[in-house]
Amino acid sequence: MTALLETRGVWQRFGGLVANSDVSISVGRGEIVGLIGPNGAGKSTLFNLIAGVLPPTQGSIWFDGEDVTKLPAAERCQRGVGRTFQVVKSFETMTVIDNVIVGALVRNTVMNEARRKAHEVLEFTGLAARADVRASDLVPAEKRRLEVARALATEPKLLLLDEVLTGLTPTEAQTGVALVRKVRDAGITVLMVEHVMEIVMPLVDRAIVLDLGKVLVEGKPADVVRDPKVIKAYLGDRHAQRA
């Protein structure tokens, strides 16, 4: 069976800066894949290319067996790519339930159905009690959760999570991890960007490490964390030699 998502030789240049160079990754159906790497490794850029925020300078992106390189973000969402934002982008003047309804409208044209779907998703993500609160009144952890809820309401095949676990207290992070597992168990493939290794490694089936815009290492989490190249990228030469 073909992979759900594939990037083939993707390059992204911003003027003289090369953010992604020749990145080819693939994500299989039902996997949780972690995309990690130090700051400035090109994770967010790759993420935006997959979500369709901007087209790559070169290369192609394949989703569900089709070339989606030229499709804008809205159309990729309609095909089953859901995403969250690293810096949360809630619809601040709208209530939590209304935020989620916007997502649910992708696959439900009748308002009552969209509303029902949105309530289901709020139940699933543990936000049901906050349904009628304005998004601007949520605490940061809840806003992260709302990002996930909104994306789930679009009924994606692939969910892109951009640092949803970063900056949370350990307890909040644990509930976040539980939610990601629950999402996968619901049959949704997950690709998540994180730079906090301790949280992601136990969670993911496979990790892809980016460094300086290139794929550095790819493999099982346990192998990846022991790889000297990864240690070097994160901690510098001295530590790599000691390992």
Partner: protein, 325 residues
């Protein structure tokens, strides 16, 4: 599920029906023509501001050039009637469709502009429209068009003896604009517009085609405003470029919504009910139109609102409700 929500929607509808019923009997007791005139204008501006609110309040694209669509409606109706004998009822629809088409044609380049740049572009475009009409001889140029009034006629929608028919038409117009907003509020479009206003990038990631959403809002908004312009042409029976396409109309459409509560269902009506009588009264007691005393009055009002209650006067009601809960 969501009993509160359905309950609130129903309450809005019942309140609106009640208010419309009360408004409908008022002129039976108030016979003063001057007061009736103010009531017609109040209802008309409520309708216009409600329409403006669709694009600028719900969808967040601040337009300060809606006078263009108002003037288009007025001129289309007047020209079709005086030059070709087309009844104003058809002129009204034609004006609306034309305005919607032009709004979309203008939206095509200008919706790519963000925030303030969009607002500035709308001012410029409306001014260009004004200049074009002023120099268009066939359309009466700066002299304008006199719509000949030959007795009362529903067919020609003109009434010399009584203001009442105008009043009822303006009431219907305000009701239609309110109802369209009420209906759109709980529709796919309504949700898309609010999402686009709050965060276009997030909206796009959730499958909302931002550009199309703006186009839809512009078309609906322009159509309704042009119908208002058609009505105004019949009401005053003489139009010239300044008196239907001047910048003050753009302001007068925006201000009630801003005062009452931008992007809310009741804001424009509330704002119009306060602002328009106030404007008319200051005009007649302090000085004629053109001196700008009325503008000073509501300039001050807007500043007070911006400082004390930025979400509009409607905020007074929701605050109290929240406190009561």
């Amino acid at each position: 599920m969501d009993k509160n929500f359905i309950e609130r929607r129903r309450r809005d509808l019942i309140t609106a029906a009640g208010l419309a019923a009360v408004a409908a009997v008022v002129p039976l007791f108030v016979k003063d023509v001057y007061v009736q005139n103010i009531m017609v204008l109040t209802l008309m501006y409520a309708a216009l501001s409600q329409s403006w609110n669709i694009l600028s309040g719900y969808c967040g694209q601040i337009s300060l050039g809606h006078a263009l669509y108002f003037g288009l409606g007025a001129y289309t109706t007047a020209l079709l009637f005086t030059k070709f004998g087309v009844l104003p009822w058809f002129g009204m629809i034609a004006g609306g469709v034309l305005a919607a088409a032009i709004a979309m044609a203008l939206g095509y380049p200008f919706f790519r502009l963000g925030g303030h740049y969009f607002a500035i572009a709308t001012i410029v475009i409306a001014e260009i429209g004004l200049l074009l009409i002023q120099n268009w001889d066939w359309a009466g140029a700066a002299l304008g068009i006199d719509i000949p009034v030959r007795g009362d006629s529903w067919l020609k929608f003109q009434f010399a003896r009584s203001k009442l028919p105008y009043f009822y038409f303006a009431l219907v117009l305000a009701c239609v604009a309110w109802f369209v907003t009420w209906w759109l509020e709980d529709s796919k479009w309504g949700f898309w517009w609010r999402a686009v206003k709050d965060n276009p990038e997030a909206a796009e990631s959730l499958g909302v085609v931002v550009f199309n959403s703006k186009m839809g809002a512009a078309a609906v908004s322009a159509f309704l405003v042009a119908v208002g312009g058609s009505f105004y042409a019949q009401f005053v029976s003489y139009i010239d470029p300044e008196s239907v396409m001047g910048f003050q109309f753009s302001l007068l459409m925006a201000l009630p919504a801003v005062l009452g509560g931008i992007g809310t269902l009741w804001g424009p009506l509330l704002g119009a009910v306060i602002l328009i009588p106030l404007t008319e009264l200051t005009r007649s007691y302090i000085g004629g139109s053109g001196r700008g005393v009325d503008l000073i009055v509501y300039g001050t009002l807007i500043m007070l609102i911006a400082l004390a209650r930025p979400e509009g006067l409607i905020g007074l009601f929701s605050r109290r409700k929240e406190a009561a809960r």
